[in-house]
Amino acid sequence: MEQVLAATEAPRDADLAFEALYRSSRDDVYAYVAGLLRDRAAAEEVTATAFERAYRKRSRFDPNRGSGRAWLFGIARNAALDELRRRKRQAELAVDPADLDEPHAHEDAERRETRLLLASALAELAPRERELVALKFFAGLSNAEIATVVGTSESNAGTRLHRILEKLREACDGAL
């Protein structure tokens, strides 16, 4: 994708490349933004804003500075942080209650309890930690892409993620 974005010079090809990036990343961007903001309406607004900014800046994408997805998530991150600054508040839950209240098909009670425990532990994380979880497990970015988005090294991103997972596991085990 990023190669297509970078290599194409004709406007039509660039539009097609952007559309392909959008198709492959739409739900991931929304998942990341919603995980960070914990507000469905705000997440929709920020997602739309992020794609609009990315479309305007598509000619400035430089593949030497990271993948197309990392570039897109960097834009989405700035838009989300702008929204946080504007609202000066964060929602209480990492995901909407509706997502948790809807029982998955063939889900047993223990599995449902586990999900609730983990959601609660996730809500207790610091925003900076929750952002890494959202980038890794909601958006599906690699450690290298996460490092590019948040402006750190790949090893540092991996180390921080490992600590966060340990923290989540301890929180869930401690609740038993």
Partner: protein, 356 residues
């Protein structure tokens, strides 16, 4: 009991918590992309989203107002300095060949510049100020053909002679148009200045004429008064000397008398100088043979080349001045932009650090 024995199991459950967009929102966003990503103002009408309008914050407004004020001050300063340097009155004094005389005065100045010859000096002559000490000066430029420079110079000498004036300096150059010319630095009795100007104006075409008057009544009166007082003091010392009885008393009075006489002599010289300034007017005459169409009557290739060079020079000057004004503004704008970016980055990270 451990609920998660491995991180992989934890990752699987975390992935199950992944938020998913509403189908309606996803469809609207798809439609926006399919429509070719139109501007957000139109897209926002399609998307029922909040917060479409961002109102500038007070700090942003203050920042913008500060930058605007800075630019306004810079432009105003540039304009004021340009106006000062182009002040005709100041330039007239600076360029006046009689500057040494004008620099010594302390009274008010009146000036007039006219290419035709109507002058303040004539007005002064028409309405003389009785009892006032007025210093007068004038500059006149004649336009002549190169072959007429010598003849015109001779006529200037004759006019000065007729007016009983004095030639302080003169310089005559023969050559082609633009190079040939003459300059004269003259002192003319003030009473005959108008006659001299009329005679010189009749020699050739008058290109420009500048007249100035300076009222030096105040310093003249002040020096005269101090001289009178000093003389009265000398008379008193002479009386005391005549009635002195001891040798030491006489010696002390003679010393005082010598000092007062020296002071009186200096004042007398000052007064004489002021009277000379009143009785004689400084006159500067210049004979020019420039490439004026009026003087040459033709416009050839050399003239075109000269004009082109002049235009290029003016254009380069204007460009240079423009750059001098714009360069600091551009640097300011760049610094402001960099500061804004840094500030924005810090604020964004700060927003992420804030905990509920």
């Amino acid at each position: 009991m451990e609920r998660f024995s491995e991180h992989d199991e934890l990752a699987v459950v975390l992935a199950e918590l992944r938020p998913t967009p509403e189908a309606e929102f996803a469809a609207e966003l798809d439609a926006w992309v399919t429509a070719g990503c139109p501007p957000r103002s139109r897209a926002r009408r399609l998307l029922p989203l909040s917060g479409s309008l961002r109102i500038p914050r007070p700090r942003q407004i203050a920042f913008g107002a500060g930058v605007t004020a800075l630019i306004a001050v810079a432009i105003a300063t540039a304009l004021i300095s340009t106006t000062d340097s182009g002040n005709p009155a100041r330039m007239a004094i600076d360029r006046s060949s009689g500057g040494s005389l004008l620099n010594a005065f302390s009274g008010p100045v009146s000036e007039s510049t006219s290419p035709e010859g109507a002058s303040a000096v004539e007005a002064q002559a028409a309405f003389p100020s009785s009892g006032r000490a007025i210093e007068r000066s004038a500059r006149i430029a004649l336009l002549a053909d190169p072959e007429d420079v010598a003849d015109d110079s001779a006529q200037v000498f004759a006019a000065v002679h007729d007016a009983h004036g004095i030639v302080l300096r003169s310089n005559t150059t023969q050559g082609a148009a633009g190079r040939a010319g003459a300059t004269f630095d003259l002192l003319v009795p003030s009473a005959r200045l108008n006659d001299a100007l009329a005679a010189i104006s009749a020699i050739d075409e008058v290109g420009s004429r500048h007249d100035a008057t300076t009222d030096i009544t105040a310093p003249t009166v002040a020096v005269g008064k101090r001289l009178h007082e000093t003389r009265a003091g000398i008379d008193s010392l002479l009386s005391q000397l005549a009635s002195a009885e001891t040798e030491s008393e006489r010696e002390a009075l003679e010393i005082e008398l010598r000092r007062e006489r020296g002071h009186a002599a200096a004042l007398q010289a000052q007064l004489a100088h002021l009277h000379r300034r009143t009785h004689y007017s400084h006159l500067s005459v210049r004979i020019e043979t420039g490439d004026s169409p009026a003087s040459t009557g033709a416009w050839g290739f050399d003239d075109a080349l000269g004009s082109a060079g002049h235009i290029l020079g003016v254009a380069a000057g204007v460009t240079l001045v423009g750059l001098a004004v714009l360069a600091p503004l551009a640097i300011l704008a760049l610094l402001a932009w960099l500061a804004h970016r840094t500030w924005l980055r810090i604020r964004r990270e700060h927003a992420l650090s804030r905990r509920v």
